[in-house]
Subunit: 475 residues, 4 copies
């Protein structure tokens, strides 16, 4: 990109053109060219609004509309011809438009500013990006649900503090992650509503002097409403910060899921094996099969947190309607989107293709995870819970001392601790499947309750939400 | 707090009590005692649910209900008697309850775990905290609206890049901040909906074996619904992260407002003076009057960003239903709440009491801020905007060279640049008030449009939103 | 704390005292009272410097010196009597000093400002805090070294991607963590050098008009030098940010160590058991023994990252020599210090007391971790490494298919893949101890090299570094 | 980049090649190709070390050395031919090397792993990057010093809380920023020492079995020493985090400087004007001249903070010697480097070319900034400072009420407040230049002291530090 002597767009009052290194620093085209399609679309609507306002003649509007439609197509096809002198996406489009339609191109910028223009294109882009991510998240939810349906009978240890706690169904665990992503999808919907507002017509900061019908303009571009205050319209980047927060939280959820997969996939746990297609090897160690995809998911969660932090720190303390600092917004948002749009499908397909070792998970279960049920057994027979807890703690110690599982303690050992223990204790409290079935409360891991959950989840996935269809091509 | 030989709650299987320094690190009472009132309330509902489930007798329920009501009152009055041995708020309440009602206290913990218990109390607390902050934010919005109503006729320079851009009404600027906080209030409402879900009954991770009606329990505690998955119920801290994000964004908005006030309050701008009651002096320099309140608002925005970042980093990669790492959540949330609950009223009252120097703001306006209107004047006479922009850029240079304001350039100078300039240009394009009135688009700064905005804002403030009344005492 | 009508320190030009809520927000005493001892010490040196400068009479200096010594003692003993009206630690000390010595107290603030005063006290505090942490880190390094010495013969799987990679000595792993903390100690030393510079004498921002010998003052307070620029002296908080960075990195190292311990302590790995004194149980599940200390270490790493982020965001964009935003520095630094000073000894003692199950670790080793050595065997016999890697990969598959360990493959199976395999392969390449001994390169896990490492580590621990003795009482 | 059926490097034990989307996610070439030159250089040293260890024949070493030298040259010239199948920079180089030298290329990877290989190349790159940044920072320091030399006589208001506090020399303010960057340069030196350590020879995690002389290898590549522990060598990314911290702090310093420039460049302050070559205009408002460069400096400070936060969050809790999460390190470090390497020269040149309006700065000085000196005047005449402060506060109020400057109050007004005021007060305490000269303490703003500072700064700039010459081409 070469720098002009004095600047085409704003050089009138300048005696010298920009310094080359300053110019390179200032140029945003490398980042914002991604907005090309959206800026062209918004410009088309603006040309028509100028026509309705009597600022352009019908033939000017027609020329601009056709030129911009062609430019949109060029962006969609990747054939838009950038020029050395283009500073940002807006100047590139205006320059191209002049090549295509001549003089009317010089009238397009009437009544608008790059301040309202760029944030309009950005909101259009982000609306589609949210729709794409909502689709990706939904696909991951679907993969988790499919897994849960497949693993309904797989008994696994449930963990707290990474210590075995109580037996659960593996399907129950998959569903725990399902609901986390369901909340993320809700958040995407909430954010979308705050994205979907039209700033165009706010000018540089004070509004335009032209009789633009902003409500009609909003409607033409599919926005729910125009922004209520022109200063706020160009200054506000809440929606970008909110998007980055939702992205960071999706990242956190991916990283928690990833950590679980990475653990279950170790030789030591041995609960699952990742498919070869979603594993990598080592250049040195011939035996290695590594869960790189999930490690990246975990690692990129950190990066996503950093993108959010960075933008919030940038936004802090800005005093004007528009300060150039705001230019940092797009790179962060694009990177967050790309990160998730690459990660989510890989995670979903990795889940779909992994192999569960149901025999290993059942064997792995420590009989001591039935201790709570042993205590509950006493409670049902009138022992206060605190006392029952203490007594069972002693039984756990006793079993350890004898080198047997809790379920292998003979009845007389149990009765030595409390006479309420009877022979039915083995069936009622010391059989993992029986115990599981008794966690029969809404949200519990009992098979009956799990089926309820699966039904609830299927219904949720059928709800489209406020999202549009996944756009083609991607933003 | 002293450490026990072996632990009262869980020491059954342990041979040694905890190391004192480990114990001190592990104890959370200093932080979570703030949940006391809420834990007692939830325990009361739990006792009743245990009664309905047939686990407790009516008289046990009655005893527990009364004991817990008394404990709630003790917390409300600040008279709850903590003991040396209390590890966390739950053990403190159970210990106290035993003092008050005896043996039934030992039965209260039946079927629940600290995992579902603490997050239930935390959600109850946070629901109230959100209501308090929504009230605080609303009060600040009210203060901004009141300012806007008072400053409807005050002409000020509008800024982009901290350079004077176009004239606006000061009221328009206050309203720009109003809408930012309005979005924050929306976000608080969205977060509240995700907070207001009941985890109790999820046990440690797998659900309870008791026939608890969780829907009824949710209703009793004012929650919208029970959580759908017991693992997720104890693992989920999304709501805390989301709260911290909303808090950080409120902080960012406060810091942008603060930066503006700090600038306007300088000798160099001189647009406003803070009231003595909201200024501080210097221990060394007798003349100083400093805007400490707004500087703290700006500075604490950084701290709030850090609280969010910290929790997100903590949540990343956790593998279990409940890991102890989650204990970091409460301190962060409490600090964010306290920070904002202290800041917001001070900012609101500082705004209410500041003095605007309308004469200074009008004088400060650079006539060159009318350049856009001068260009628009040419556009209306058929000059393409790009060309008009360039010509006016030359006029700006010319005025600078002559050492006069743009509005003081004689007509022949204007006509030397373009013959379309006529005598009416001074009235139409070079009078700030006239120019202002022509920004007559939805969201623009024209007085007529500003009045529309004020009306819209008043209506918004009348909407209660999903928030409860501000609780007494504060959470 | 009550608010005065107009302020004692700076109220001269004010017509009204501060608003109570503003006053509460502004007051920093709750945080900065911790600086009391250091502020009194610096004030004592200041009084003497004022004496040397001829501003105070010898008897005034004497009175102030004695009064301040008493105040220092009061802080050390926790008996300093705070008053309702104290705004910050400086006003509290000045008020107390006046009570103790009368009129001369009013002269102490001559030529200094709270701006240079607070940062001087803060640097004094931080110098001691760094010494304390350097001691804590050294103690943890000592614990790791002691562990390494004890676990020199314990064979464990080494991991990459949490997949077994190659056999190593457990001692080698402990030492890996040792070196990370050694770097942290270096960083503490680097930071200490930048902390240990005297700002006092810089006044509010421009220097003092009194003939103060700042070099002598620096010497009196143990600082290496005075700051070279008075504006920078009061504006600079780099040292606080740097401290928070070093703290965050220590946190990250603790969290990586913690993650390893948490994994090794699971039933699934089973490599170690934490001592009862450093474990906790569950209120619900009688069998649980949880590694809460290490989970807190991991979780608090997130909080420490947030403290750093928060201060950096606060520092960004501040324009003046001193802005009130800087007040956020102390709370962050105090919290980081307290967090680490509580964590580090618990982690060290947890390491010292844990039990290693050397039998389990040896059994756990997957024979396939010898694959690299099998490839090396071929390389030594002239096969290019890439080819050897591919062939051994096939052997790994073959062993899996046969359901045997790599070391159990009969020679003919090996030779079917490459004829260079001979009978000595089992001894040379498929015996973990032999293989281990061959990692005989500087820094490698061979026992001989490990002993070198231990020696190097012992020498390092003997170096005192630039740190002072651990102060009593703690800062 | 196409995915192979099974992988060339590690496919031996795999039955299926990677999924295309997983493969795309996993590939790091887009980022790490920047390491090409450094990886080739390290590989050359490795080939020679393998030769010395007897693993390669002299002619193999020769072939590899020449091939790698050519590859290095290709990277330097930007002509390295990437292939579709390249996964990362290491596979690309190995593939190219095979094209160039045939079979010996297959032997190069003997005894090393990508784990030690990548971190070696990264450290080599970072060492050069630090040298480049040290040069950039030095250049900015030089620009500040040059400005200070030029602006030695320019009187400006000094600010605290953005309120005029005391008169200072503009040069003093430039020097305040100088010292902040001087500290950054020290930190770069400290970090460089921790970067400049050789990991190669650590293998995947346990060391290599080949008799590699790592000390000689370190020497050959210019490293100060080899790493002491092979696990730590591949796991450690402290140096990257430390680099990001130093980068973030440089960003913070740039943003504080930028904020000052942005303010001084406003119409309201009017102290400086940026050169046209370092300003931009507006597409809408013909009169605008915006300080975009400094706004970007301020904004990018936020982004730099985010990069640091992101990596710290990523590093947290990683359990293995090498986890794939670590791959996030390079992108963050590269981005931080590029950001600063673009920003610093622009900021330096913007400073060099800006215009100072010394008349405006002097006029802007509020006479009330002499209040401290008025109090000092009384102190010199025996009034305790606290009392003097209070009395001068009243004079400030009095001057305001009379609408005159503090220096314009007639003597009788001064004497009405305290009889010690005499006619010499105007010359001694109420003349800004006189007052300035009296801030004659080390680090103070008195011209004499400023000259001392300039001398000290010039000496500092002559010290080369540990940095190498700026490399060509840039890393």
């Amino acid at each position: 990109m070469s720098e002009p002597t004095t600047h085409a767009l704003w050089g009138g009052r300048f005696r010298q053109g920009p310094d080359p290194r300053f110019w390179a620093l200032n140029a945003s085209l490398a980042v914002d060219q991604r907005l090309g399609r959206y800026d062209a679309r918004a410009s088309r609507a603006w040309a028509q609004a100028l026509g309705r306002a009597g600022v352009l003649t019908p033939s000017e509007v027609e020329a601009l509309t056709q030129g911009l439609a062609r430019i949109e197509a060029e962006f969609a096809q990747g054939t838009f011809p950038f020029a050395e002198s283009d500073e940002d996406i807006h100047t590139a489009i205006e320059r191209r438009l002049k090549e295509l339609v001549g003089e009317p191109a010089l009238k397009l910028h009437t009544g608008r500013s790059r301040n309202d223009q760029v944030v309009t294109a950005f909101r259009l882009w982000m609306r589609e990006a949210i729709d794409v991510l909502a689709h990706d998240v939904r696909d991951l939810m679907q993969a988790l649900l499919t897994r849960a349906e497949a693993d309904q009978n797989v008994l696994v240890p449930g963990y707290t503090h990474l210590q075995q706690a109580q037996p659960i169904l593996l399907a129950h665990l998959w569903m725990a992650h399902f609901w986390a992503f369901a909340r993320d999808r809700e958040r995407l919907a909430d954010t979308r509503a705050r994205v979907n507002v039209l700033p165009l017509g706010s000018g540089a900061l004070a509004g335009t002097t032209l009789p633009i019908d902003r409500a009609a303009l909003a409607h033409a571009l599919g926005f729910a409403a125009p922004t209520p205050n022109s200063w706020d319209a160009v200054a506000d980047r809440d929606f970008a910060a909110e998007f980055l927060f939702v992205a960071a939280l999706i990242g956190v959820h991916l990283s928690r899921l990833a950590e679980q997969i990475i653990l279950f996939n170790t030789r030591e746990f041995g609960f699952i094996t990742l498919d070869d297609r979603f594993s990598t090897g080592s250049s040195l160690m011939p035996q290695k099969k590594n869960p790189d995809g999930f490690e990246l998911a975990r690692g990129k969660a950190g990066t996503l947190i950093g993108l959010l932090t960075g933008l919030l720190a940038t936004l802090k303390g800005l005093p004007s309607a528009y300060d150039k600092d705001l230019q940092e917004d797009k790179d962060a948002v694009f990177r967050a989107f790309d990160t998730l749009h690459r990660l989510l499908p890989v995670v979903a397909d990795s889940l779909r293709t992994l192999h569960v070792h149901a025999d290993r998970t059942a064997q792995a279960l420590d009989p001591a995870t039935l201790a709570t049920d042993l205590a509950d057994y006493l409670v049902e027979r009138g022992v206060p819970f605190r006392e029952a807890h203490r007594l069972v703690g002693q039984l756990v110690q006793r079993a350890e001392a004898l080198g047997v599982g809790l379920h292998e303690l003979p009845l007389h050992e149990l009765q030595a601790v409390h006479p309420a223990f009877q022979a039915d204790v083995y069936e009622r409290a010391l059989d993992p499947r029986a115990v599981l079935a008794r966690r029969d409360v809404l949200g519990g891991t009992a098979p009956r309750r799990l089926r309820e959950q699966l039904t609830q989840a299927r219904l949720l996935l059928e709800e489209p939400g406020p999202f549009g269809p996944e756009p083609q091509p991607e933003p």
